[in-house]
Each structure stands twice: as structure tokens, then as C-alpha cells.
């Protein structure tokens, strides 16, 4: 692989007394969607939070665009060009949808063209533009979380289970939004439990188990090989 946008080399992370990441090696190719897969509790979310700096890596190295960001503060990582959509969405409930979107633009006001594009994709956000975000439904909050991350151009997006609990029609819209984001040149590292979404979106995949990446390669190769899926994740995609 040539010049990945993000590389993790032997990254270890502890949370309290637990040794969660036990030497993660991962490369995210530039301009592609990389799926981070694996069973629950294997360290996928911790990996994203360690990349973002919300958990500090105990050892190892994280390189973003060739720059060592292992000890960099969270805000500096975001300003360097990493967008983050956490599993809990991170919505500010007391603020309006508009204010949430404004916060997505750390470097200036929300670009009108960008706003039009995002509201075209997620019309509900326009309907509730001046309403408190806490009043939105779960799906609308997820849309807001993703739209807020997209409010500014970022080189890399870390997205944690964006389709969890959403209706199929909304999942389809999310997937289309992520495709368009990729078409604009962004790289995406996506944690996803929905295998059909993973198969449809992913260019490459990395499978984790016990705090390590145990397999990485083309998503198509993983999608076509049920034996490999069962060996890596305990069940095949066809089971979903």
C-alpha cells in the first residue's frame, strides 16, 4: 500500500486496569473507505478514540498524513483534519440544530453551498433547524452527528457505527452520503456491524480480535469468503 493517510504501529491502550488495545497495526489508505470489523468488545471503539486522542496510547505510534500525532491533544488532531462521529453521537442537546452545525465549523462560518448540500441530504435537519437537538429522534440525531462532522472539509473521518438502530431507508441515505464524501477525496475509517453496509461501502477492511488487528485486506475478498469470515468473526456475513 502506498502512502496511507493514517497508520497505527503497535498501539497499546489501557483503560483503568484493562489492557484493551494490545498492539494494533492498521493502515488506512488515502481516499478509500476502510471498514473496521469484529465482534463486540474487541477494541474497535477504543481504536477510534485512541486515534482521536480521547484515550491516550500507552505505547506505539499513530501517524496521520506522515505526522506523528500520538501525543497530540484532541483538538489539535481535529484541526489537523480528522473528523469524528462517536458511537453516542455527541450531540449537544441544549443547543439548536443550527448551533450544533455551527460548532462543526471550527475554522469559520458554515459555507452556504456546504449547508445546502447537507440539508439536501438530510431534510429533517432543515425542518428542525431552530429546534433544540435534544428533541430530535434517534435517527435525526445520527444524521446531525454525521452532518456536523461533514460541515467542514476533513481529510479523514472516524465514524463509529453510524447505522446502529436506524431504519433501512435512513441507512441507505447515510451510505450515499458517505459515498459522496469519499468521492470528494476524503478517507473514512468506519466501524460498522451491519455487514451489508460494510460490503457495499468498504474498499478495504481490517478485522479485530482481542485488541489486535488479525486480518486486513480488500473488503471484496472478505465479503466473498465465508470461511474467512467465520474464522475471523465467528460467523459469516450471510448470517446477517
Amino acid at each position: 500500500m502506498s502512502d496511507p493517510i493514517l497508520s497505527l504501529n503497535a498501539v497499546h491502550t489501557d483503560i483503568a486496569q484493562y489492557h484493551i488495545l494490545q498492539g494494533v497495526d492498521l493502515a488506512v489508505p488515502r481516499g478509500q473507505v476502510t471498514m473496521l470489523l469484529g465482534r463486540n468488545g474487541v477494541g474497535k471503539t477504543t481504536t477510534l478514540k485512541t486515534i482521536m486522542g480521547q484515550w491516550t496510547a500507552k505505547s506505539g505510534e499513530i501517524l496521520f498524513d506522515g505526522q506523528d500525532i500520538t501525543r497530540m491533544p484532541v483538538s489539535a488532531r481535529a484541526r489537523a483534519g480528522i473528523g469524528f462521529v462517536p458511537e453516542d453521537m455527541g450531540i449537544f442537546h441544549d443547543l439548536t440544530v443550527e448551533e450544533n452545525m455551527m460548532l462543526g465549523c471550527a475554522s469559520g462560518p458554515l459555507d452556504p453551498n456546504r449547508k445546502a448540500w447537507l440539508l439536501g441530504a438530510f431534510p429533517a435537519l432543515g425542518t428542525f433547524w431552530h429546534s433544540e437537538a435534544g428533541n430530535l429522534s434517534g435517527g435525526q440525531k445520527q444524521m446531525l452527528s454525521i452532518a456536523r462532522a461533514m460541515a467542514e472539509d476533513r481529510e479523514l473521518y472516524l465514524i463509529d457505527e453510524p447505522t446502529k438502530g436506524l431504519a433501512p431507508a435512513i441507512v441507505s441515505t447515510m451510505a450515499q452520503a458517505l459515498r459522496e464524501l469519499k468521492a470528494q477525496g476524503a478517507s473514512i475509517l468506519l466501524v460498522e456491524q451491519n455487514f451489508s453496509v460494510a460490503k457495499a461501502l468498504g474498499d478495504t477492511a481490517a478485522v479485530m480480535d482481542d485488541g489486535r488487528v488479525i486480518w486486513s485486506g480488500a473488503m471484496a475478498e472478505l465479503a466473498e469468503n465465508n470461511d474467512l469470515q467465520e474464522r475471523l468473526m465467528g460467523l459469516s456475513m450471510e448470517a446477517h
Binding site: M52, Q54, P73, V74, S75, A78, R79, F84, P86, D88, G90, F92, H93, D94, L95, E99, M102, L103, G104, A106, S107, W117, G120, A121, F122, P123, A124, T127, F128, G134, M143, R148, A169, I170, S172, T173, Q176, A177, E180
Partner: protein, 343 residues
């Protein structure tokens, strides 16, 4: 991009009772004022007590606003906040004493200029002191509430002793500038001029804070930070810098409150800030920790309640605010206007 299916969402019809429940904390102040009128009976006494209560409330709000934001933003319980009140009072009153010629003449311009300079000096000193306090005392104990209580109380004691060293152990009596002495008569009621000034300053400050918090990007970051600090940082904002700014501003406001409270009482002591902290904490708690609007309403309720009860039943004055806090927390355990905190 393909649009998500538009299911034409509609807005719920909110009943009058539901709307009233949301607005009730705001309505509590006028309700208390009306109840005070009915209980006191004499309009002139009621007006005097109401202005006095509002003035007291405004000054408590000035002191409490910084404390509630600091708690909301960084989860820091600062029991040393009272130190800024005391230092602000001593610095401000020292400036007023030094400008004795300005305060002793019956010139409104000179009197107000002297008070203005005293306030600027007090806020500058307490602002710098707040910066040092955060760096030296608070920073090492982030995330540890018990340690925060211990070290900030320790900081308060040290500062009080330093005041004794610099200004001596005795209380200092001060008289207000000439044009701020006395009262004006309105509708048969005597209303102290200084109390009107305190109401005006408090109101302007509240509106300014509200405007900054609601209409500016920095205010937006502060409000978001109160709710979910880690997410604000993940969006690219240096919340530590924002917090230091809020801590410094909160300390400077406490200093302003100290000057105003000193002029209100016409006497200052090293322990005055510590004594005020009881009321300041009551206000921050019943308002909803982290909520400036809640602190404002809470401060007015505390000020009015204290004055009305002291007039009607002096023996109950000391417990009136504890009773108020108990009643409000039984009604709304998170305070009147709680800030939603991310889990």
C-alpha cells in the same frame, strides 16, 4: 446526494400547562414579588424591600455566575471562589480610600469615576489571581472532587491570611461616595440610591453575559462545553483555553461582586467572601449547576426571600434560603434550569 425520505414531521401541540411548567422558574420571581406584596401589605415597605432584595440578588448573581460556569464547564467545585470576593473588596475599597477627594465631593462624575476605577482595579487583580489560582491550585486536581474541595478551601484560608498580612486583621469601614448616599422617595417609599445602582449593574451584566453566551461563537463553545466537553475538543476547540478564560472572567466578576457588596454593607472583612459562599452555593444549586440564567433567577429569589422574611419574621430570616433551596430541590432535583450533561 439522495435525500432521506421526508416523512413531513410535525411539531407537537404543547399544552398550556406544559408551557407553564417550562416557564415556571422564570415566573417564580414575579410570583414571589406578588406574594411579598400580599404578605407585607404596606406598598411603601414592600417597594423598599423589593428593591433591596433585587439589589442583594443582583450582587449575589455577580458572584455566583462565574462559579456556576466553572463547575458546569470543567466539573470543578471551587470553594475558594470566596477569596476573590474578599480580595476584590479590599483592592476596590483601597482604591476608593486613595481617591478620597473624589468620593468626598458631591460630584456624580467624580464619584462614579472613583467607583469605576475601584471596580477596574478589583477585577484586574482578581482576574490575575484567578489565573494563578487555576494554574497552581485547581489544575493538579481536575477530576478529583474531594481533592478539589480540600485544596480550594486551603487556598481560601491562605488568601484570607494574606489579606490580614497586607491590610491588617481589623475590619475596614467605608462610607459610600457622596452622591450614592441616601435615598430617593418614590411612591412614599424610601429607596436607597446605591441599591438602584446595584440593580442596574446586575441587570446590565446579566444581559451582557446572556448576549455573549447566546450570540457569539465563544458563548456557543462555552455552552457546548458545559454539556459535553470531550466532544467540543473533538471538533477542534481548545477547551482548556476556554476554561482558563472562564475561570479568569468568573474570578474578576467575583471581585466586582466583592466591591459592590463591600459598598453595600459599608464594611469589609477578610472572611466576607467565605460568608457569602453559602448564599452563592445556594444560588448555583437551585439555579441548576452550569446555568447562568438559573443562577440569575435563583439569586433574585434568594435576595427577595431574605428581605421579605427578615421584615415579616426576623427569626426565620436565617433559615429562609435553606427552606427555599429545599423546596426547589424537592420540586426540581437538578435545579430550576438544569444543564443537560453528556453521560
Amino acid at each position: 446526494m439522495t435525500a432521506a425520505p421526508d416523512h413531513k414531521p410535525t411539531f407537537a401541540q404543547i399544552s398550556l400547562i406544559e408551557q407553564l411548567d417550562k416557564a415556571l422558574p422564570i415566573l417564580l420571581v414575579p410570583i414571589l414579588v406578588v406574594l411579598g406584596f400580599l404578605a407585607i401589605g404596606a406598598p411603601s415597605s414592600w417597594l423598599t424591600l423589593t428593591v433591596s432584595g433585587l439589589a442583594m440578588g443582583m450582587m449575589i448573581f455577580i458572584m455566583a455566575s462565574g462559579l456556576t460556569l466553572v463547575f458546569g464547564l470543567m466539573d470543578v467545585i471551587n470553594f475558594g471562589h470566596g477569596a476573590f470576593v474578599s480580595v476584590g473588596a479590599f483592592v476596590g475599597i483601597s482604591v476608593l480610600i486613595a481617591l478620597g477627594e473624589w468620593t468626598g465631593t458631591a460630584s456624580l462624575l467624580l464619584n462614579i469615576s472613583a467607583v469605576f476605577l475601584a471596580v477596574v482595579a478589583a477585577m484586574a487583580v482578581t482576574g490575575v489571581m484567578g489565573w494563578g489560582f487555576e494554574r497552581v491550585i485547581v489544575k493538579p486536581v481536575y477530576g478529583a472532587h474531594l481533592k478539589q474541595i480540600l485544596v480550594t478551601v486551603g487556598g481560601l484560608i491562605v488568601v484570607e491570611q494574606l489579606i490580614h498580612v497586607v491590610w491588617g486583621p481589623d475590619e475596614i469601614f467605608i462610607s459610600r461616595p457622596e452622591t450614592l448616599k441616601g435615598a430617593i422617595t418614590f411612591a412614599g417609599a424610601a429607596v436607597e440610591k446605591y441599591r438602584l445602582l446595584a440593580v442596574g449593574v446586575g441587570l446590565v451584566l446579566f444581559l451582557a453575559m446572556r448576549m455573549v453566551l447566546r450570540r457569539t461563537k465563544i458563548g456557543l463553545i462555552v455552552r457546548a462545553g458545559v454539556e459535553n466537553g470531550p466532544m467540543v475538543e473533538a471538533l477542534g476547540y481548545r477547551l482548556r483555553m476556554v476554561f482558563i478564560g472562564v475561570f479568569v472572567a468568573g474570578s474578576a466578576l467575583a471581585g466586582l461582586g466583592g466591591v459592590m457588596w463591600g459598598l453595600y454593607q459599608e464594611v469589609i472583612t477578610a472572611g466576607m467572601g467565605e460568608k457569602m459562599m453559602v448564599l452563592v452555593f445556594i444560588v448555583a444549586i437551585i439555579g441548576g449547576l452550569g446555568s447562568v440564567e438559573g443562577a440569575f433567577i435563583g439569586a433574585l429569589l434568594v435576595g427577595l426571600m431574605q428581605n421579605y422574611v427578615a421584615f415579616l419574621e426576623p427569626k426565620l430570616a436565617l433559615v429562609s434560603n435553606i427552606a427555599l433551596m429545599t423546596a426547589i430541590l424537592m420540586w426540581r432535583p437538578q435545579g430550576m434550569l438544569p444543564v443537560v450533561k453528556a453521560k
